[in-house]
Symmetry: C2
């Protein structure tokens, strides 16, 4: 807990270019906590892009073991928790040297991650009643198709804390293909 009024969140890089970890200034008190989960000016000050969120999603997970992903939607994400704890896992799906690079991180409510588009996003829930909340900078459309990667892909080999055989996974996420360089996402045109 940091009480200094000027304290900025701190930023850490990762092996995936553009994917950064943000340590938030969570303020605990007798009621619970308060946090600025995302604050445009401060995020710019520490070096995040001005990504322009247009949608805030919440995925609530009743049970430990729920595992969602690995989804590579065509937008940037700022992911965080309102309560609970997860194991986050990311895979670079963009063509180039870092294709297939992975990053994993245990997250509680004091951490957020900026996930650039082209990076596959997933998480496993470590505590019952975990609420995952995130901001994205493009609108989802019904029926939109986006690349997804099998949670048990043997090349990226994510070391899930809870074996996938015991995990709670949507039907859709049980049918995603393995890593295939021929489907790498082209670099964004400017």
């Amino acid at each position: 807990m940091t009480l200094s009024p000027q304290s900025l969140p701190s930023l850490e890089t990762s092996p995936i270019p553009g994917l950064v970890v943000v340590r938030l200034d969570r303020r605990d008190d007798s009621r619970g906590f308060f946090k600025e989960n995302w604050q445009r000016e401060k995020m710019l000050a520490i070096g995040l892009p001005d990504f322009g969120p247009v949608q805030n999603n919440v995925s609530f997970n009743a049970d430990r073991g729920v595992t969602r992903g690995i989804h590579t939607e065509p937008w940037d994400k700022f992911v965080s928790l309102a309560t609970g704890r997860i194991f986050g896992a990311w895979v670079d799906m963009r063509e180039g040297d870092s294709f297939g690079a992975t990053f994993t991180l245990e997250m509680d409510t004091s951490v957020a991650v900026f996930v650039p588009r082209g990076v596959g996003n997933s998480y496993q829930v470590l505590e019952d009643a975990t609420a995952y909340t995130y901001l994205v900078n493009a609108h989802w459309r019904p029926g939109i198709a986006y690349p997804a990667l099998a949670l048990d892909d043997s090349t990226v080999a994510i070391d899930w804390p809870i074996p996938l055989g015991e995990a709670i996974i949507s039907e859709k996420d049980q049918n995603n293909p393995g890593l295939d360089p021929s489907t790498a996402i082209p670099a964004k045109k400017t």
Copy 2:
């Protein structure tokens, strides 16, 4: 639960001008739920203003009975829950005919409320481990002073489900003044 892909959230007005209730399209499944908590295009389509959020805050409440407010910060708010249940209470603090008007609503994760600036915001937590998450369109600054109203003001007389004597309230919120028309917030200049 609505599964129609085109379904928009629905909007209800309230006795406080500009304060509207949004019923969200929460999608429950075996994992928990997913919801678009705020989605710019859809919110505009149902008539919300294009309020331009720059900050996303989370206040987590460990225990039933936590009561926060009544705060009239100089910005609009889009308030919602990531998990849990609250009793929300609002008081119009703007000068004019509706000064002192109140509105209350029990909220779960399927409801959100747009609170225009000039309206005092407060809530009482009805379930342990309730995570309140909201968007605002101006940045908080350390030391900022804003009008606050006593939770037990006898004129507005909010009918709290949990008696305030049993509530968990910050020291700051135990020292707010009562309703005073001479401190009404002037209409916003254009």
